[in-house]
Amino acid sequence: MSTTADQRPIAPQPVALDTTVVTSWKAPIAFGIFTLLLLALAAFAPQPGDTTYRLSLPNDVIQLPELTVPAMPALWTVVVLLAGATAYSAFLVRSKRRVPLWLVVVYAILFMFGFLTWAGAGASLPMIGLLFGSLSLAVPLIFGSLAGVIGERAGVVNIAIEGQLLAGAFTAAVVASVTDQPLLGLVAAMVAGMLVGMVLAAFSIKYFVDQVIVGVVLNVLVVGLTSFFYSQVLAPNAATLNTPPRFDRLPIPVLSEIPIIGPVLFRQTLVVYLMYIAVALVWFGLFKTRWGLRVRAVGEHPQAADTVGINVNRTRFWNVALAGSIAGLGGTFFTIGSGIAFNREMTAGAGFIALAAVIFGQWDPIKATLAALLFGFASNLQNTLSVIGSPVPSEFMLMLPYVVTIFAVAGFVGKSRAPAADGKPYIKS
């Protein structure tokens, strides 16, 4: 329902207009903090040398020239530009106007450019590899956050995304290894994720157990189950049960030759293409179809939905199950998506980052996808920087998504408002 929230300032009554415009100093303050951070880097930790951005792979049809920028002058330029953006946002807020999204996006890109230029000084940054890896790392996060968005829009908090990813990864590995068919593994992963989602739904909707409790416990349960079967069954029979085949890369004929975009977006595996479709479908479904209207109604105001004849608990149950199957599909990335054997707790907290992406993306599938991409970028940046030898300890890069999420939920960045009935069981009276 973010659309209605956005429209609220344009209410018909002009009297109410003054009070409903949300002018918050949070964006300028956050801008200021990040500008100061970069300023501190420029002033106290200058890096000599040039930074080279490699924009093409060696065997691309269309070769782009390398982009070389002198590190320190570029950094200072960026700092000045960022200071300008901060001042502009402060001006906007002072004159009781909102800070537009494009300004935030431009600010973020400039900041990343400045930071990359500083961190990569004296080295050359493989941009294609960086972006390609970011997208790959973001795949499970995006599937997980789509699952979170559907669940929470229907009014069920899905903390069990981690468990669903793990269940999907495990089942996909086993089924694909046994049948030697990655597609069957994909289907099995969806079923496994759906089962976890159904348990979550059954306990939280039928037995009114607190959704957060069920989610947390389900995560532990899935970790326990998969680790148990891994040590007891998979490890001794690794050759037959845990050598999953991997999806081949399928370059899309024309699109894959577009410079930068092609190698990053269109030379991926089936799982990634499914992800594009899933994002589009979930967005379209939630906001343009009857199904989406019902899901949102059930999550925002279950009593009203019940009054017009929507079966609240049945709607919730099946949507949580659907969310589980989407998360299970995301879990395939860990095993058959990358051709890696299953291992204990191999999702390593991806479900929780996906949850963070849901909140950071304000319960909107597109924004949650962007947030997941940002988190994927942050973790892959850490990989790239540790290869070229960056001055920032890798732990701080890994910490970044979590810190950003804390800022996001604390409301320093933008506004986050959950569906009204999120996390509350509907008890029909």
């Binding site: 306990f203 416990v217 148990f228 079967f229 040590s231 804390i406 409301g411 986050s416 408002r417 509907y426």
Partner: protein, 457 residues
């Protein structure tokens, strides 16, 4: 800065329409429900069941109370979880898999193999956690019980911390981060300073507790000031703490042992280590005494102090508490500070009691998450948490010996633990499985009688 509409919905300060508040209450108070329901059953089923109906016999009432009470649900939940665990052990056992091949020829073999695997595993669990019959003397045989108490120590302390936030209507899933920070502070004091015996231990203990409290306090302050959801905050703070501690562990001059390249600290100094309670042949250390003291303290806070009264008031109904003049936001902060201190105690008892030879970023050993299940199993009461902590300690101690003796992976313990909590959280499910009477159904029937009588008049 603290605009309530920016919050994630259920900040108590948010101006929501009344209809919403009505739906919100069961959700906000649900971790409380267990504890509250226990009292309610105890008090309500006595006088409430009467009315015009002739009073049933004492034995019947008592039987009913036992069958519908929470104690029996807890016992049955443990039983059910153990049965599921047994099924998993049996079906992954090699002997069972071999014999099942000729099941229809000789089914007896399969049953014998199932019995062997399950009985072997669970007897190893028992002998690893309570009493080992294979030892000659009582003193050697009882060693597993002291192991159980050692494993239970951080679980009790951590469980109390989580239980306390449950009583205030909040979740603290940040046990991992709070334990890591507390362990780092305590460890840093314990290996980096030279202080006399006793004083050193106390300073390290206090440092760790304050560290844990402050780390949890971040979540408390952010929740109180901005209305951010504490579940998300604490989960995120877990990862921040993990990476922070990992970085400190591999940075010379901070926590890394000098002259080593491993991400590990040097050993704790003798002056700071918790003394053994029963002599050096048992691992049980002073931390257990602290856990008992913490239980008493939490019991006192919750049921005897005015702070605890405010905590419970906020937990049951934050809006009513605010109207009554209680500083709800202040209570959130205090609850997180105390909760973090208790999880800090869990972290300190790990570094100063259990693993004194230096620690890594895995020092929390999943206790921060186990603490949640402990608190849930203990229904958020101090002594219930204490008992649940000892039960889970027994599972842990026994799980290790089960793995060593029977080759059953220790992860089975995770499965059993989480199933216990799931079953306990859903009493109707357990009642359905065992065909027990439903206390709600009984109430409904009496209510029907009352309406009938009212119509007759």
């Amino acid at each position: 800065m603290s605009d309530p509409t920016m919050s994630r919905g259920d900040a108590p300060g948010a101006n929501q329409p009344d209809a919403d508040v009505a739906i919100e209450e069961p959700a906000a108070a649900s971790p409380e429900q267990g504890a509250a329901a226990e009292d309610a059953v105890a008090t309500a089923s006595g006088p409430g069941g009467g009315g015009e109906v002739p009073p049933p016999s004492k034995w019947l009432t008592m039987l009913n109370q036992i069958a519908t009470g929470n104690a029996i649900i807890s016992v049955l939940a443990v039983l059910l979880a153990l049965i599921v665990g047994a099924i998993m052990i049996a079906f992954t056992d090699e002997g069972v898999q071999e014999t099942i091949g000729y099941f229809f020829a000789r089914p007896g073999d399969t049953f014998a193999a199932i019995w062997d695997s399950v009985a072997g595993a669970y007897s190893a669990l028992f002998q690893g956690s309570i009493y080992n019959f294979r030892r000659d003397t009582f003193l050697a045989g009882i060693r597993p019980l002291t192991e159980t108490l050692t494993f239970a120590t951080p679980l009790i302390a951590g469980g109390l911390g989580v239980a306390l936030t449950f009583r205030v209507g909040m979740f603290n899933i940040g046990g991992r981060g709070q334990m890591l920070i507390a362990a780092s502070v305590a460890g840093w004091i314990a290996f980096g300073f030279d202080l006399p015996w006793g004083v050193h231990m106390l300073v390290a203990l206090l440092g760790g507790i304050v560290g844990g409290a402050l780390w949890a306090g971040i979540a408390g302050v952010l929740k109180a000031r901005t209305g951010a959801h504490e579940v998300i905050l604490t989960i995120m703070l877990n990862y921040v703490a993990f990476y922070l501690v990992s970085w400190m562990l591999r940075t010379p001059g901070l926590l890394q042992a000098p002259g080593s390249s491993n991400p590990k600290t040097p050993a704790m100094k003798e002056t700071a280590v918790f003394p053994y309670l029963l002599g050096p042949q048992y691992n049980l250390h002073f931390g257990f005494v602290l856990a008992v003291l913490a239980t008493v303290l939490v019991w006192w806070i919750l049921s005897r102090s005015s702070l605890g009264f405010k905590f419970r008031a906020v937990g049951i109904n934050p809006n009513a508490a605010r109207v009554a003049g209680i500083n709800v936001k202040g209570m959130y902060v205090y609850a997180f500070l105390i909760s973090g201190a208790l999880l800090g105690l869990a972290g300190v008892s790990q570094v100063l009691g259990t693993v004194t030879s230096g620690f890594t970023a895995g020092i929390d050993a999943g206790i921060g998450f186990d603490a949640i299940t402990v608190a849930l199993l203990g229904r958020s009461t101090p002594w219930g948490t204490f008992a649940a902590g000892i039960l889970f300690g027994a599972f842990k101690a026994g799980g290790f010996s089960m793995q060593a003796a029977e080759g059953v992976p220790i992860e089975i313990v995770l499965v059993v633990q989480s199933l216990i909590v799931l079953f306990i959280a859903a009493p109707p499910l357990v009642r359905t499985i065992f065909g027990l009477p439903d206390p709600e159904g009984r109430k409904k029937r009496t209510r029907k009688n009352v309406t009938k009588e009212a119509k007759a008049q």
